[in-house]
């Protein structure tokens, strides 16, 4: 009997929130996975704190609802503990690009085999609308009512510079593409990063802007680093330019969890080692 994928928890996202599209996409991917005969018991969702993270309550799979900005190291621990698990992080832009940016960069650097999906609504949703590192300059949020004076970070560029092996960008209103990207990210052996432009109906309702600026990349998954860099710079999360959606870059290399697999030692082996060590110390 296929699993009921949605819990009974009451959904509290605002009407029109892009998180619905993300939840729907993940649900469909899980259901596909089940149909392919793979177990859902091996899937773990790791979340930060924010509107995005409520997906922990809504999807009926294993989940670690962690701390603001800290889902990625938790996910890293989980994957290292049990490399058979499929570990997916749903994080916010405040979460992953501000509070816990270092963890994102180190996950990419290490090439730990997890998939990070950034619900990038370019605002702190749950705390009612402050700017994030990807808000455009001049953004009037509640902590910057006169407008920010900082240019946004370009997370795609940052991930390229950090050694990520799978880098993509999706959009919550392009659900077919989104599903393909997340599926490919999960399938990618190694660290996968997907920045998802997510509509925040309440604090960053950029639907019209995105709709008129996004375009889909032709091929999926190129290993051409320079080309990826150029593409990443086309739209810098601030300028008025075409916004490429799709896979910017892929390259497979040994993952951190593969390289770190310990040779397990039972209690007896350990006790022997301890005895030997004691012996060497006298």
């Amino acid at each position: 009997m296929p699993r009921t994928l949605i819990t009974g928890a009451r959904n509290t996202w605002c009407p029109g929130c892009g998180n619905f599209a993300l939840q729907h996409t993940l649900k469909n991917l899980l259901s596909d996975r089940e149909k392919e005969g793979k177990s859902l018991d091996d899937v773990v969702l790791v979340l930060g704190i924010g509107c995005h993270a409520k997906i922990a309550d809504y999807l009926n799979i294993n989940s670690f609802y962690s701390l603001h900005g800290r889902s990625i190291p938790a996910a890293t621990g989980i994957k290292l503990a049990n490399p058979d698990l499929t570990v997916i992080c749903c994080v916010g832009d405040g979460d992953a690009y501000a509070e816990g940016l270092d963890h994102l960069i180190f996950a990419a650097k290490r090439n730990i085999d997890i998939t990070v999906i950034v619900h990038n609504n370019r605002v702190y949703g749950l705390t009612t609308g402050q700017y994030t590192p990807t808000s455009p300059i001049g953004f009037k949020g509640r902590s910057t009512p006169a407008g920010t004076v900082e240019y946004p970070l370009n997370p795609v560029e940052l991930m390229l510079a950090s050694g990520a092996g799978f880098i993509a960008r999706g959009y919550t209103r392009k659900m077919k593409l989104l599903k393909g990207l997340i599926r490919a990210g999960i399938a990618h052996k190694g660290f996968a990063f997907i920045d998802v432009l997510q509509i925040c109906a309440t604090f960053f309702p950029a639907t019209d802007y995105y709709d008129s600026h996004v375009y889909e990349l032709p091929a999926t998954g190129s290993g051409d680093f320079e080309a990826a860099c150029a593409l990443a710079r086309e739209w810098d999360y601030n300028s008025d330019a075409g916004i490429a959606l799709g896979t910017f870059f892929t390259r497979v290399s040994p993952s951190f969890d593969e390289r770190m697999i310990p040779v397990l030692a039972g209690e007896e082996v350990r006790e022997r080692a301890i005895r030997e060590l004691f012996d060497a110390r006298m």
């Binding site: 800290r70 049990n82 698990l85 963890h103």
Partner: protein, 550 residues
């Protein structure tokens, strides 16, 4: 003479620590119990380093003010420690660097003769010391061969040259005890964790805890564990919690500053009920403070760290033997009670070297962690009589394992209403009671010294050694809680029977154990505190006790 103290000193980078270890092994093979204190400033080269090796026929865990032998690699060593010399102190020194030293050894000449590298100069001093102390060459030979397998011959040749220079001066009597393994407190903690079933050790280097990281990283293949050194301490604790969520026993190690960064993760562990062992090794604070010196000033911080209220276990072993035992135990408790368990130590214990009895009793495991029986639906936070919810780990068939930092219902789904909040807070309270009950079964308070003395020293952690010696000298009782949370008030009250005068001894400014005891209604009569980063010595403490009056 049934006890001896040897000081060896030189510049940072001179290898004082390993030379000290060799002296310790010589005494070990004479049948002495060992305590080695290593003193160094926070720098890599230059600066003054010294080790004091104390051997005694009884167990020992502290230094005395005076030393019997000084092995001086430089002039500064002789100058710096004047207050430790007695009439009988024997000086073995490097004649090339120290004018007017007694028992000067022409190190340069010996090395040249043997074509040995500079670093082997220490072996010359050790050889000279052995002879002066009347240690037989056979012992020296055996110890060098065991402990410097590579290059033993050359080192021995160098040592022999110095050995042959002198006559015995002050004989160290051989004792009948067999040698015991000498391990540092940090190593003992590592070994205890391994015995407790450690799967993963996650740590970011920070003195004085780094020794555990280095030791376990070095030994990880032999023990079959994962060792991770991540980008910072926040990542450390979250990774460790990730391991535990996935069913692997994890521990972290740090010191105060790094622990600060873990407090948010600690509170997460409390709310999400994820077992984790935290080793916090204290140094002199506040802030960066004295990174390589000791202190006991983080007890109250560790007791209360993290927002909100949740059960935690804190144990403060007093020496390497206890560190071994209680580290194993801490892992057991963390998983049995699904809560954070702390091993709270300090620089003195972490970086001190102690004799260890390898055959000493181990933690006796009861039931182990409460595991899911497979009945669906799995609810991670099932509200049970004990407050403990059976554990399952992701990957388990048909278990949807949801852990949550928010207030949550039994299934782990966020809940904000008053009723569930109340219920689940009470569930965690029951677990707290359960932890208290479990800890009843452990010897959480140790008593030593004169059992009917009406004056007692109350202390915790590494001051064990010095308190016990001072108490022996003065005829006092020593009462020492090893478990600091849940606070074993009943056991302390029992140990206090007949005590009329209670003197707290701590290495901090505000008397933190005293505050904890007072909060439980215990009356402290005097507080003896030291806070310059240096551990008490026996004479120190004896005179401070006499000062406040017995």
């Amino acid at each position: 003479m049934n006890e001896v103290s040897v000081l060896i000193g030189g510049k940072a980078g001179d290898g004082i620590n390993s030379a000290g270890a060799m002296v310790a092994q010589l005494l070990n093979h004479l049948g002495y119990r060992i305590y080695l204190y290593f003193d160094y400033p926070s720098l890599i080269r230059g600066g003054h380093n010294f080790a004091i090796i104390r051997g005694s026929e009884r167990d020992v865990g502290t230094c005395r003010n005076h030393v019997d032998f000084v092995l001086a690699l430089n002039e500064e060593t002789i100058e710096r420690h004047k207050e430790k010399y007695t009439q009988k102190t024997v000086f073995i020194s490097n004649r090339d660097l120290i004018k007017n030293g007694a028992y000067g050894i022409p190190v340069k000449a010996i090395l040249a003769e043997e074509k040995a590298p500079v670093i082997m100069g220490n072996s010359a001093l050790i050889g000279g010391f052995a002879k002066a102390a009347g240690i037989e060459w056979e012992v020296v030979d055996a110890v060098f061969r065991r402990h410097i397998p590579k290059g033993a011959d050359l080192n021995l040749a160098v040592a022999k040259k110095a050995f042959d220079l002198f006559d015995p001066v002050q004989l160290i009597k051989k004792s009948e005890n067999p040698p015991q393994p000498l391990v540092s407190g940090n190593e003992a903690i590592g070994l205890g964790l391994i015995r407790g079933g450690l799967d993963a050790y996650v740590s970011y280097p920070m003195t004085p805890s780094s020794g555990i990281l280095h030791f376990l990283a070095e030994q990880k293949e032999r023990f079959g564990i994962t060792v991770v050194h991540p980008e910072n301490e926040i990542a450390v604790i979250l990774m460790a919690l990730g391991f535990a969520y996935a069913g692997k026993k994890s521990a972290i190690g740090t010191s105060g500053g790094g622990f600060c960064l873990m407090t948010e993760g600690l509170s997460l562990a409390g709310m999400a009920e994820i077992p984790i062992v935290l080793v916090v090794s204290q140094r002199t604070g506040p802030s960066t403070g004295l990174p390589t010196y000791t202190g006991q000033s983080d007890l109250q911080f560790v007791l209360h760290a993290g927002q909100g209220e949740f059960p935690r276990m804190i144990v403060a072993p007093g020496d390497a033997q206890e560190a071994l035992l209680w580290s194993e135990t801490a892992m057991d408790i963390a998983w049995k009670c699904q809560c954070p368990a702390f091993i709270l130590v300090d620089k003195t214990l972490s970086e001190g070297t102690y004799s260890l009895d390898p055959a000493a009793a181990r933690n006796t495991y009861g039931a182990g962690p409460l595991l899911w029986d497979g009945k669906i639906p799995y609810r991670r936070y099932e509200d049970t009589a004990s407050g403990l919810s059976p554990m399952a780990f992701p990957g388990a068939k048909d278990a949807v394992v949801k852990v949550n930092s928010y207030m949550h219902d039994e299934a782990g789904i966020t809940a904000e209403d008053a009723e569930i909040s109340n219920q689940m807070t009470k569930k965690r309270l029951k677990k707290w009671e359960y932890l208290i009950e479990v800890m009843q079964g452990y010897p959480g308070v140790l008593q030593s010294g004169k059992s009917d003395a009406s004056t007692a020293l109350l202390c915790w952690g590494s001051v064990k050694g010095v308190c016990e010696e001072a108490a022996a000298e003065l005829g006092l009782r020593v009462i020492r809680p090893v478990v600091l949370a849940p606070f074993p008030i009943d056991k302390i009250q029992k140990a206090l029977m007949g005590v009329k005068r209670l003197i707290v001894v701590e290495e901090n400014v505000t008397a933190q154990l005293a505050a904890l005891a007072e909060r439980h209604g215990i009356i402290i009569h005097e507080k003896i505190l030291r806070y310059d980063g240096r551990p008490f010595t026996v004479e120190d403490l004896v005179s401070r006790v006499k000062e406040v009056g017995i």
